[in-house]
Symmetry: C2
Subunit: 206 residues, 2 copies
DNA sequence: ACCTGAACACCGTTCAAGT
DNA sequence: ACCTGAACACCGTTCAAGT
């Protein structure tokens, strides 16, 4: 009587092949590098013919976009958590907490971060969800900078320019640290991040 | 009697295949994207069997490193020229001139810039020349920041941290502008760069 | 609906050979 | 010394077919 309990799964596979592929891709990429992320290898890991992936992703770029989306969600979580722990009224300190969380995220998962920021994936506007997630990250930064202005802690430079500048600083820090293999010990990284950011963030104060 | 003047070139090719390959690679990459830079296509352009490239480059990474070296030389030129035109004593203004030159370089040749900064090419320390050129770019920034401290215009934060911060800002600005396809008109870019940088660079002043 | 096999046009890289 | 042809092990992608 056992035979029956074993469902068609063995042949028809996962309830959710799409998620299985994305998860495998994220794991694979962190174990090696973005260059080694191939549709065929990901499919192999999931135990499925590489053609099956095309049921869920139009092409390789679509898989990369899914990995990037997943990454943005994780980054947004990390940013939210950092802000929840930060003091409510000190605008500079809140930016610092954001910067530390952002840089940690990138340094701890460099390949994932490179997929998120290395190539323009949404060239043809095919991935609106990805775009929306980028917009949410932007909104978090904009919210903090705007709050600093409202509480009269920051200069009244237009927020759009401030966000671009602050994001440039964090993104630049993270990606330089990744490509040039920062020689700073992981245990000292957060403090070092603060030291580097301090004079620049201080420039926002009025 | 002409026949004789035609040398073995036709078969034995360029006096300098190496340079021909690098030049072709730079042109190719700017016409498309880093992903489309292949050893075979570059060789095709130069009119040579793809195997010939291996006489001059151990592997594809070595060709990319040569392209990156070429790029760093051009970037150093652009930075030097900007500094030559900048006022001699205003440290903030000199940093701004540097930032504008740096960003322009990246925006005008995005694929080239992405090869320089996208992947860690010198993983095994195989390209000392590349490393030396990066060191020279670093030295230019360090020199300006140090000068600003000596003339008592900048705070006395350790130079190492200042350089990393300023480079983060310029690199981040450039690469975000590239991946997110900045919607700013090219003719307004230099002014916009200054607006974005102003509050942050101002933070260095004492 | 979901998955597969076989095939195509590309890669980078290696080996043995040509001038 | 410098270049090539043929081959290998990989890609992403397409077509026609299987359950």
């Amino acid at each position: 009587m056992p035979r029956r309990s074993k469902p068609a799964r063995e042949t028809y596979h996962h309830g959710d092949l799409r998620n299985a592929l994305v998860t495998a891709a994220v794991e694979l990429v962190e174990g090696s590098s973005p260059e080694e992320l191939t549709l065929r290898e990901v499919s192999r890991r999931v135990g499925v013919n590489h053609r099956a992936a095309y049921r869920h992703f139009k092409d390789k770029t679509a898989l990369l976009a899914a990995v990037a989306e997943d990454g943005y969600r994780a980054l947004l979580d990390a940013m939210d958590q950092a802000l929840a722990k930060a003091p409510r009224t000190n605008a500079e300190e809140r930016l610092m907490a954001l910067a530390v969380a952002y840089v940690s995220f990138a340094i701890d998962q460099p390949a994932r971060y490179r997929i998120m920021f290395g190539r323009r994936l949404n060239e043809d506007g095919r991935f609106p969800t990805l775009e929306e997630l980028v917009g949410r990250a932007y909104a978090v930064l904009a919210g903090e900078l705007r709050a600093g202005q409202v509480s009269r802690q920051f200069h009244l430079t237009p927020v759009r320019e401030l966000v671009f500048g602050f994001w440039s600083l964090t993104h630049g820090f993270a990606s330089l640290a990744i490509v040039r293999r920062l020689k700073v010990k992981r245990s000292l990284l957060d403090a070092w991040t603060r030291t580097v950011f301090a004079p620049f963030v201080h420039g926002l104060a009025r």
